[in-house]
């Protein structure tokens, strides 16, 4: 919903139903709104049955990868005698994305409930909620909610008096985007530098502390209670286009748009309606120019591409980009694309963990070239070099931060070449009045 928290009629408020409602934060308030019925139900089912319901629903990871959630849970082998772990990825650092923050601020118990159901399904006695260090308010709220849940016996040695031990601990990050990558997140929990790991081994085989682990995004887990209570068929029915994309998604709209905020729509929703209707279109006197629909790590779309996109995993791929985290960054005709892309490259250069050669050196080098072009000191050869470097940075590293840096560069040069050329040959920014 837009700020301040009023749903648009075309939204499908499931996770966001209680955004803005301070009462929903407390345990009592949450219960009054139907909370913890799903957990009660799940604890009465076998873990395998819970996994099957989630599989049936078609729920896919909402953090950015879109991996089928039920399938991921099924990789955790029951009865292997090893401690299983659930790590909740609340590291939300992808530029343009701010949905998990809202979920945790307004409905912390939704996350606890979803995580507890997952913990039961995968046999994990211990859950770590990894919250980025900057999210001080969500940290406070989640800690308080966890405390409430323990006091009420929902968490602890005998969850809900029914059975398994479900322990939940909040773990605070300390300023590293890369810790949102699932293996880097595990290393960070272990007290190490947030370096992504080579896969295989996969987390379900050897994850945090070397034990079988599942990592799920906040939004993903918060969908689970609804799926259990309303059924997999209900969730599957929430699909406007591709049957492989089911349910709702919180899309975070930001940038130069009239009504920035989080909007929850059914997957397959027309992107044009999203941008011009839900988000209110451009600011007065402006025209929309470009969109990065999935957080900054996916290719940039022209408005022509965006306006014909259907918002689901397959729909975005069909229009040359990806759904990613659903962080919709909108740029209008007052924004210099070269400057934005240079600033994104700087972001990736700052966040590179430094393991892989291409990422460590490439993010920094491309940033410098882009900033030089922005200043009016670039050459046409620089564009060729940028494209070649982007090629060398794609598909060759332990994680995809390197690819993410390359994506806006490649799509930016392809689709907004005139702006680059203006900086290079004209030595000035075509957007701002002053010379570059």
């Amino acid at each position: 919903m837009g700020y301040p928290h009023r749903s648009h009629p075309k939204e499908t408020p499931v996770l966001s139903k209680h955004f803005g409602d301070a009462q929903a934060r407390t345990l009592e308030g949450w219960k009054q709104r139907g909370g913890y019925r799903a957990l009660e139900q799940a604890l009465g089912m076998t873990p395998a049955d819970v996994v099957n319901v989630v599989k049936e629903s078609g729920l896919r990871g909402r953090g950015g990868a879109g991996f089928p959630t039920g399938l991921k849970w099924s990789f955790m082998k029951p009865g292997d005698g090893k401690p299983h772990y659930l790590c909740v990825n609340a590291d939300e650092s992808e530029p343009g994305t701010f949905k998990d923050r809202e979920i945790m601020r307004w409905t912390p118990h939704a996350l606890i409930e979803g995580a507890a159901i997952c913990a039961h399904a995968i046999g994990a006695e211990t859950t770590y909620i990894y919250i980025r260090g900057e999210f001080t308010e969500p940290l406070r709220i989640m800690e308080a909610a966890v405390k409430e849940a323990y006091a009420a016996g929902i968490l602890g040695a005998n969850a809900m008096g029914k059975g398994p031990r479900i322990d939940v601990f909040v773990h605070r990050g300390a300023g590293a985007y890369i810790c949102g990558e699932e293996t880097a997140l595990m290393n960070s929990i272990e007290g190490k530098r947030g370096n992504p790991r080579i896969k295989p081994p996969f987390p379900a085989a050897a994850g945090v502390f070397g034990q079988p682990t599942t990592i799920n995004n906040v939004e993903t887990l918060c969908a689970v209670p609804h799926i259990l209570v309303n059924g997999a068929a209900w969730y599957k029915s929430l699909s406007l286009s591709s049957p492989k994309s089911t349910g709702t998604k919180l899309f975070s709209a930001c940038g130069t748009i009239a009504r920035p905020g989080n909007y929850e729509v059914t997957l397959g929703f027309p992107f044009k309606d999203f941008l011009y209707d839900l988000c209110g279109g451009p600011l007065p006197g402006r025209r929309l120019k470009a969109v990065i629909p999935g957080g900054s790590s996916v290719p940039i779309q022209t408005m022509e591409e965006a306006e014909s996109t259907l918002m689901d995993y397959e729909g975005f791929v069909a229009k040359g980009t990806m759904l990613g985290s659903g962080g919709v960054i909108v740029f209008d005709d007052s924004v210099c694309m070269v400057r934005m892309i240079a600033r994104l490259a700087r972001f990736y250069a700052h966040e590179s963990c430094a393991q892989c050669t291409q990422c460590r050196e490439g993010t920094a080098w491309t940033t410098r070239i882009l900033e030089r072009i922005e200043r009016g000191q670039g050459t046409m050869q620089d564009l060729d070099v940028l494209l070649e470097l982007s090629e060398n940075m794609t598909g060759k590293t332990i994680c995809v931060l390197s690819d993410s840096c390359a994506a806006p560069i490649v799509s930016g040069i392809a689709k907004f070449k005139s702006e680059f050329e203006a900086h290079i040959t004209g030595k000035k920014c075509p957007v701002s009045a002053a010379a570059a």
């Binding site: 401690p83 650092s93 994305t97 260090g133 001080t136 990050g173 530098r193 924004v335």
Partner: protein
């Protein structure tokens, strides 16, 4: 948040004494290894002292059975730990592209001007403020977000800056 550096003549006082030591013990119970308590332990240090000094790194290392070199490697990876004293109020302004498109740079300028810091990373002469740019703070729809120590302030614009700063003595 306090921000005293260690006086060269003053002996280093351990952070993990008394109640804080108890907090660390509680944290250790959450993880199967001592090393996993490192990030939480460093947060305790920063809460108590305002920054993580080399002596504090040695203390944490000893408490967790690690080497100081290892602790330093971890501290230097995570940008939120300060490795030198900072102003009493540490201001972080997000300038990554979504906020950049919404005028974040003007907010930075206003901050530098009204705090008296002048330069990014410098502490103001009265020791009150340090201002830095940071990467995406995860509140892109509420541009421009600013953190002052642990306070997360949304939708800051240049004209709101003077009023905002008066809250922080």
């Amino acid at each position: 948040m306090s921000a005293h550096g260690t006086d060269a003549a003053e002996a280093y006082k351990p952070v993990f004494a008394g109640a804080v030591s108890g907090e660390l013990d509680a944290l250790l119970a959450r993880y199967p290894t001592k090393m996993a308590a490192l990030l939480p332990a460093l947060w305790l240090v920063q809460r108590e002292r305002g920054w993580v000094s080399p002596e504090a790194m040695v203390e944490v290392a000893e408490r967790l059975g690690l080497t100081p070199a290892y602790v330093k490697g971890v501290v230097s990876f995570y940008t939120m730990y300060h490795t030198h004293p900072v102003g009493r109020h540490f201001i972080q302004v997000c300038t990554t592209s979504p906020c950049g498109a919404c005028g974040a740079e003007k907010v930075v300028e206003a901050m530098l001007k009204h705090t008296g810091c002048g330069d990014l990373g410098a502490t103001s002469p009265d020791g009150r403020f340090t201002v830095i740019e940071v990467e995406c703070l995860g509140a892109c729809g509420f541009a421009t977000p600013v953190m002052v120590n642990d306070d997360f302030v949304e939708s800051v614009t240049p004209d709101k800056v003077p009023q905002l700063l008066t809250q922080y003595k």
